[in-house]
Symmetry: C2
Subunit: 502 residues, 2 copies
Amino acid sequence: KIITKKSSKQQNQDALRIIPLGGLHEIGKNTCVFEYNDEIVLLDAGLAFPTDEMHGINIVLPDMAYLRENSHKIKGMIVTHGHEDHIGGIAYHLKQFDIPIIYGPRLAMTLLQDKLEEAGVSERTNLKSVVPRETVRIGEYFSVEFIRNTHSIADSFSVAITTPLGVIVHSGDFKVDHTPVDGEYFDLQRLAEYGEQGVLCLLSDSTNAEVPGHTPSERAVYPNLERIFSQAEGRVMVTTFASSVHRVNMILDIAQKLQRKVVVVGRSMLNVIAHARNLGYIKCPDDLFEPLRSLSRLPDEKTLILTTGSQGEPLSAMTRISKGEHRHIRVKEGDTIVFSANPIPGNTIAVVNTIDRLMMQGAKVVYGKQQGIHVSGHGAQEDHKLMLALTKPQFFVPVHGEHRMLVKHSQMAQAMGIPQENTVIIDNGDIIELSTESIQVAGQVESGIELVDRAGIVQDTIMKERQQLAEDGVVTVATAIDWSGKLVASPTLHLRGVVTKV
Amino acid sequence: KIITKKSSKQQNQDALRIIPLGGLHEIGKNTCVFEYNDEIVLLDAGLAFPTDEMHGINIVLPDMAYLRENSHKIKGMIVTHGHEDHIGGIAYHLKQFDIPIIYGPRLAMTLLQDKLEEAGVSERTNLKSVVPRETVRIGEYFSVEFIRNTHSIADSFSVAITTPLGVIVHSGDFKVDHTPVDGEYFDLQRLAEYGEQGVLCLLSDSTNAEVPGHTPSERAVYPNLERIFSQAEGRVMVTTFASSVHRVNMILDIAQKLQRKVVVVGRSMLNVIAHARNLGYIKCPDDLFEPLRSLSRLPDEKTLILTTGSQGEPLSAMTRISKGEHRHIRVKEGDTIVFSANPIPGNTIAVVNTIDRLMMQGAKVVYGKQQGIHVSGHGAQEDHKLMLALTKPQFFVPVHGEHRMLVKHSQMAQAMGIPQENTVIIDNGDIIELSTESIQVAGQVESGIELVDRAGIVQDTIMKERQQLAEDGVVTVATAIDWSGKLVASPTLHLRGVVTKV
Ligand SMILES: [Zn+2]
Ligand SMILES: [Zn+2]
Ligand SMILES: [Zn+2]
Ligand SMILES: [Zn+2]
């Protein structure tokens, strides 16, 4: 089934085009186009969260102009896993064009189904779940094998995309976890087999390319969480990413072991746990859980509250609890509150402020890198090297990272013998043209961003106006003049956000 | 001279009041009031920088209502060192009330003199430089000894304040650096002597109370900087805090050793270097420096550019260089750019974006904790323990830190034998009442913040309006009606920053 480089060369001299619309020079909104002749296959379509300067913005999407214009070519989409930066944009794409079919892991497809229904676009596509080592054909030119990998969310895949020119391996998001919590091992054998037969190009996750060594196994946090929970004398509250299914799984397991009932708080946490239990990624008895309304009846030392808000998000449960604004949960003396997540750089201040507020209300807060209660879901340098060593690609493109991470990742590849001219550092919108002999950036497509607030897409000029209003305020002058231009009353002045000398 | 606890008790049963107006539950705007009967002595008066939500704000000051109302009591001020978070507020204080005399280190007094002149308030006070072990009397009740400590800026002091109730030691900002760059050793002997005679209360810097171990000596970065500079084939650009006098000193020293001429860029960097050279804290020959206009004539391998902007500040030289917006400096292939500073949490994104932009223009950028090119100016846990061990205070108040840092610092003190009831965790505005027998929070004074933008003080309601304008924009409707209330023309609508359905 795998077309070797030689035969592909004889069949077709056309170039394969790879066009990332998002995910480069950033962590977020991963969206990648694979194009051969008149066929496009998409890989993931995520969203990003706004920076502080994006006033009033809820989410950030890539510019979809290229896909709108070429929507007739779209044969289907591959989804690697269910994180927001990989599936959060799909509903918005479907408002603008159809995608005939989307293949992906069961958990991602279930989460996606909810999103599409909520947006009213579930009729615009066809979701198909795949199992490990399943191969699907998309259009005339592409076939895709899903290869199990390990990551912070369950049911995550790397993919091998067989094209007329050769095999492209896309790592998806991964770390190399040899002791996965759910017992689903990284399918290193399939990657090795592709490497043996010849991989034309590898695109690989660069998130932790600046971090030396290996990322520890997700299991490494288990004993630390267990020790902290068992030392707690009152209630335990834990916050982590809702999508970190393995972490949630371990927390539930420890709760059961320590005979604490679990109260789950936060819509996304409830949602992910429900789906993950349905699909068997989380295994625990129904009676482990208690509804929020029973909280006041549970003895403190038998209670564990699992909640969203590990990033200090303004509307999340943990943030509201810390501000005393949560309708059902008040911090009390003796609570142990555990942050089982590291702040993403832009969120550090929000997180530490939340921690401070919780401490001031009498909670013991456990947080920080030294506690061993969080590990990354992304591989570090040695994991990256293993991916390169297994797949032995002819060409290499670092993806999923900011510029310096891509540069570091590319340097690692060169240290492992890939010639510099066989790698490219690209930005969103760059058109990679790949032949069996060469890789090059052959041009650009439109690649800006689209900002979405409550009312819809926000234009760039509007953002500039908002920034100016924020910094200077606004002055309105109401003047009544008659038809001849004479003032008929004294003008009135209104100021909003404007400093007057006091 | 030191009044022992016994004799002070016999003399006066009045309480000493310590009221921090800033610097608690934050890093910034350190401002502390010491009050006994009708006398007030101030210790430092700093500013803080605005958070992202403070649109259009340049600096943040503590609420000065308490000092305005009690300005007749102010007998003088002590300054510990020349950092902005300790002296940056003084000019604003002097616009509201006089301070008869300000005592502080020579470098801080020189920097302060400039600020007061610029603000036109230098007549409102009297600046007096002090030397190590100098004791000054302020008012009837206070005398203050300046005790040399080690910190990231040169000429920094801890102080021992002798009051009718006993001795208060305020650590100032410090680390314990046994190999200081300028050869001015921490005067551990004086602290120990005060400890031996009896310290009633210690107030101590908590910045790195979450960090285990000792903070390395400032000298530790020397060999790493030297190695990086000497490996550079083209120009070297270095950025650090202008106020990190020791760091700047080492950079200049290495430049001289490697026969690179130094071009200094950025107003604050030029200013600090000029003053530090005048006072002898930086020693180097005049011909080490070249003016910016000579830059193009210097050979790349003989050039070192020293610049501000290590925190990605929007208007700083390094940020403008990274954006290609600097009038005189363009990045070129072969440049080595060194970030000799860690980003302060709120600045991380601005810094990494700057690094990415510099790399994209072809520079080799050296940054990050693993490079050994930055150490903190604040002591870690073992440094804090040494301060506690030397001074053996009866009462302890952790200061200069966010809530969790204060809590950690207090826990260290308790582990060293200070009873919990002899420590207090306080917030800005809390009134600490100290007697020879007890410490307690006896009330609060007004302790909000004052926000300053280009036009002056910005009220809270104005900030709320700006936030709303930023998120939603503004709609103005102009309607012309006659005296009877009838429309005389169709209304016109103006939108700014408002999303319309497109
Ligand atoms: Zn991702
Ligand atoms: Zn992911
Ligand atoms: Zn300070
Ligand atoms: Zn300082």
